[in-house]
């Protein structure tokens, strides 16, 4: 085995254990987890048998396995960025809702805001809706 293969495989295995041990990974869907493990398995396979990757590349009309790897990597990168963007927007939305809720509660308790007596309270709102 060449040195680079040893380094890559050890790195992949370390990342995989880190990923499986991480307590946050429990929140991940089983399917997502399975795909990630499969992905690591494929990566190790490609490191062990670079010839196989070359053959797959030829099959889809790409000259070298390394080139194929680059294309797939580019796609994965763009996909990751986009899903991170979507998740960031969702997080932002939750923060906005939270800050708004706090601001409204505080404003309703602020004696400075009391000159309007005809105010409906939140509880009345809920009663009316139910």
């Amino acid at each position: 085995m060449i040195l680079i293969q040893v380094i890559l495989i050890v790195a992949f295995l370390l990342l995989l254990t880190r990923f499986l041990v991480d307590p946050n990974s429990h929140q991940m869907k089983a399917g997502q987890k399975l795909i990630t493990v499969l992905f690591f398995a494929l990566a190790i396979f490609a490191v062990l048998f670079p010839g196989a990757l070359n053959r797959i590349a030829h099959l889809v009309g790409v000259g070298r396995g390394a080139d194929l790897l680059l294309y797939v990597l580019t796609l994965t990168f763009i996909f990751t960025i986009f899903s991170l963007y979507v998740r960031d927007k969702q997080n932002q939305r939750q923060v906005v809702a939270l800050v708004r809720r706090i601001a409204l509660i505080e404003a309703n308790q602020n004696p400075h805001n009391r000159p309007r007596p005809k105010k409906r309270t939140f509880s009345e709102d809920n009663a009316g809706a139910g």
Partner: protein
């Protein structure tokens, strides 16, 4: 007088001018809601000295979020029939707001009246701003099918139905475009009204930059993609 109106003023670090703006607005409208969007200056102190209501976001979230908070605060009062959004920096005239409100009262079928500086006689729009605004409205009309002349005017008057359904999600400046999208989507009956914008050095310095306009366009496009 105008007891059924809630004026919403989003404020971010406008302590220098808010007192003067509020003095003019409070003369005509008794119920003014100032939404302080995490200002770091004397905004809270300045508003507290007036009879305007004060709501504070503890962190800055953007004008769209501030307007939505103001709407939700105003909606708590069942006797409020009309809502007005008004910029804090003094670029709008109270008489324009009054005229738009009068129009909405006289036309019960209309849901929302939007201010347009291009229908009115605006005091010297800076050239770059003029080009930027023209591009913005062209983009807006092309993507929504609306027929408007001014995309980003902060002066709007709308009824309770619109206030309930507007539900602004875009926290930042993209809310102006979002409102137009929502008008088309919810089939609100809209009307554009000529207004005069007072371009002071202060408001010129605070206005939208080219970079921001591009950011907003991308946000709107991505939002459309994600929603579908």
């Amino acid at each position: 007088m105008n007891d059924d109106v809630c004026v919403i003023i989003p404020i971010y670090n406008e302590g220098k001018v808010i007192t003067r703006t509020l003095r003019g607005v409070l003369k005509q409208f008794p119920f003014v809601v100032c939404v302080n969007d995490g200002s770091k200056d004397n905004t809270v102190e300045a508003v507290s000295k007036t009879s305007a209501h004060l709501i504070s976001h503890f962190t800055n979230m953007g004008q769209g979020a501030a307007i939505q908070t103001g709407i939700e605060y105003g909606l708590q009062y069942p006797d409020i029939e009309y809502f007005i959004t008004f910029d804090a920096d003094g670029q709008h005239r109270v008489e324009d707001a009054l005229a738009m409100l009068a129009y909405l009262r006289e036309h019960p079928k209309t849901d929302i009246v939007l201010g347009s500086r291009f229908l009115g006689k605006t005091q010297s729009i800076p050239l770059i701003r003029r080009i930027l605004l023209r591009l913005a409205i062209w983009f807006e009309n092309a993507t929504t099918g609306a027929h408007l002349t001014d995309a980003h005017n902060g002066l709007r008057v709308f009824n309770r139905k619109v206030a309930t359904q507007l539900n602004i999600i875009m926290p930042d400046m993209a809310h102006a475009s979002e409102i137009i999208h929502r008008i088309i989507e919810k089939k609100f009956k809209y009307h554009e009204f000529p207004v005069t914008i007072v371009y002071s050095d202060y408001s010129k310095a605070k206005g939208q930059s080219m970079a921001n306009a591009i950011n907003i366009s991308f946000d709107i496009l991505l939002q459309e993609i994600i929603r579908k």
